[in-house]
Symmetry: C2
Subunit: 428 residues, 2 copies
């Protein structure tokens, strides 16, 4: 940890407000747990905003001191966002002044001196803007980002908590369904397409590649959003693979596009007999293409939210990252830092070693880290050895939730007791 | 076990042929493992047919004695069908005489005296027909069914190996993604639809109901193939649920139909801009309907093969059933039985107790056990207490596969050494 304590910070008295932002993950609550536990250790009251920044705007705050230590511990194995999340992006200080003023008003009313925002690059931007309010609005508020996104597209950090678990889910699921496809290919499905998240960056698609270890192992084709989708080349490769292996298993990013920039999912969207727009999806589009052009039996899967909430098959490495950034964020806050985020720094691949470092939010906000070219094979359909070297440690280790006698994971639902409001309502 | 040994059986000398049939499951290989282990214990050579009955017709046999005990043990935690499966149904003895004669020829050439067919009701029918060949074709062959199907639609048996694991996958996944949806509903998805297998019987759809325990828990709506799909009633219920709970999570069987008998998936299939048929799916159809009529943000998931191959989250109860029927099938065979199947008999719900009984194949072949009316709530959208009582024990217990240092389940791929052919090729 290379956070430099500032003199003003440690003497600041007040409460800490934690909020979750953007798409939730299997381990975002693990970060929440260590945020709260670390606050408790330092005798700082932690509030949480209900539904992300919206809760702060609405003065809809949750008093986490009402939760038992056991409930907070249980967050470490509970997916989703325990306090609610949101997709809201604040504009510039000039454009969104009323909302920024409201936030300061809420912070002031409740003595909130630290704001921890757990999210991706949009959230880092919001945290960055809020971190600057202290100077312009005369109220000392420190903002720390806590990294989270299944997309792994956050700048600076080696990887992002949330990604390792979706990567593990993807690799495990693909390995399993490939065994199914191989079993049946003689008389049933020849081509199977699994769609994965990652609209702009192919990290999750790449992680599917970990399912196979040998040349003929599934996935036989990976479609990355970083590469233009060429239907002819794709169909040619499917054909060759079915000829050689007997079947073809495809992992496709939701974000692949044709050369004209149009999403494959949108290009193949249509209208049903009732006049309703068909909700696209890359997997059905590709399956339709293969069936139409190659006349092969196809099946497809679209795990959607299942992939990012699959805490039951979370990566232990990912969980450890999520726990570490939550703790580090509070320590950074209490040590007087502002406008920073604890990030994962990889020390070595094998053995995998890592540590937490501190990065400035202005190096993270609004940036997007795509899959490097060196991670995509020349043919555009496979991952390279370099990609494996990077990805492999991130899915290592198992950290299953406790199961009840009913055979289901024992996920916690918090009380989420509201803090009494002190201000008039605000139209967010 | 109430198998009555027959005098002819125990003295029969020969080999046992095991084959996998129909859609594979997370635990069909567990049955294969105990079939082979029990044969080894009794010093009977076990062959396996490659790709189900097709392997028997093609004389494409696998010598399981070439596999190590460790490899056979590893089958107990490996999904898919290790010897290959197929979707082929033999017709009547009159219509398919050449194929039946070929089977007898293959059995005779390799000294196969017992045939174990691991499948659903179609496979029970094939096994039943084969069991009668001894009399009509002058070659003593005993056929035993081994129950397997994720659909749980097999008659006589209380439940079917394969179902408990897909039920557990469905309940766990639904519980997880519901936490995700609830986290985000304020500014994102309001209605989430998860499609599940079970074209004719709603057992898997019903198992989704185990994910929720209280009135407002997800799934808020279950759509069963045993009930006519009424779009207006469905939309009304979605609307009410979103009003009351803030979101609506739907579990829908792939097989739901409109009053005119047409599948919802087909009714909403369309054509894309390229002229390709859109591959339907109930989940996108329902999501499109909700978005079109209620203007609510929707997401949907279609796990497809992921659900039936998810050995990583298999039910221990299901695994124990699968192991037990494999062992019992060999014991039935060696004790001289013919045209029977070991089935699961439930002794009590709580504590859950069960035993293996023997059922005649003619009571199982070609029958289909649908979800009883008593398991579906009057409104048609929920499961009853009786359904919970039946389903609950089947998802109990965890039996995770061993994971490697690479973070992936250590699934085995067998050598599947071919038995030398003795006959001329046959055009199947």
């Amino acid at each position: 940890m290379n956070a430099t304590p500032r003199t003003a910070g440690p003497n600041l008295k007040g409460k800490l407000l934690y909020a979750q932002s953007g798409g939730v993950t299997a381990v975002i609550n693990a970060s929440a747990a260590t945020v709260i536990e670390t606050c408790r250790k330092h005798k700082v009251t932690a509030y949480a905003a209900r539904n992300g920044i919206l809760g702060a705007l609405r003065e809809d705050l949750i008093d986490t001191t009402k939760e038992s230590p056991a409930a907070i511990r249980a967050l470490k194995h509970t997916p989703g966002g325990a306090f609610g999340s949101c997709r809201v992006k604040l504009k510039s200080l000039e454009e969104d002044r009323a909302r920024y003023e409201r936030l300061i008003e809420v912070f002031r009313a409740h003595g909130i001196r630290w704001f921890l925002y757990n999210g991706g690059n949009d959230s880092a931007d919001t945290a960055l803007k809020l971190s600057q309010l202290g100077k312009t609005m005369g109220y000392d508020i420190r903002c720390i980002g806590v990294p989270k996104t299944v997309d792994n597209d956050l700048a600076v950090t080696d990887c992002c908590p949330g990604f390792g678990s979706v990567a593990k889910y993807t690799a495990v699921s693909l390995r399993e369904c490939a065994l199914d496809v191989v079993s049946m290919m003689d008389t049933s499905t020849r081509v199977f397409v699994m769609e994965v998240m990652g609209r702009h960056a192919g990290w999750i698609a790449a992680s599917a590649g970990l399912a196979g270890e040998h040349a003929n192992d599934a996935p036989h084709i990976i479609l990355f959003p970083e590469r233009v989708f060429d239907a002819d080349a794709f169909l040619q490769r499917v054909h060759e693979t079915v000829d050689r292996v007997g079947c073809c298993v495809v992992a496709a990013s939701e974000g692949i596009r044709y050369a004209d920039g149009g999403f494959v999912a949108d290009a193949h969207a249509g209208t049903d007999a009732f006049g309703h727009t068909q909700l696209g999806g890359v997997a059905p589009a590709l399956a339709g293409l293969v069936r139409g052009k190659l006349n092969l039996k196809t099946h497809w899967a679209m795990p959607d939210y299942l992939q990012r909430s699959a805490r039951h098959v979370a990566s232990k490495t990912d969980l450890e990252h999520a726990l570490a950034v939550g703790k580090a964020a509070v320590e950074l806050a209490l040590s007087g830092e502002n406008a920073v985020m604890p990030v994962i720094k990889r020390i070595s691949d094998s053995p995998y070693r890592w540590k937490i470092e501190t990065a400035r939010l202005d190096r993270i906000a609004n940036r997007e880290k795509k899959l490097p070219s060196a991670f995509i094979a020349k043919d555009g359909f496979r991952i390279t050895a370099a990609a494996r070297q990077y990805l492999a440690p991130l899915i290592r280790g198992e950290a299953p939730p406790p199961y009840g006698k009913n055979g289901l994971p024992q996920y916690v639902v918090l009380k989420n007791a509201a803090v009494k409001k002190k201000l008039p309502p605000f139209d967010v």
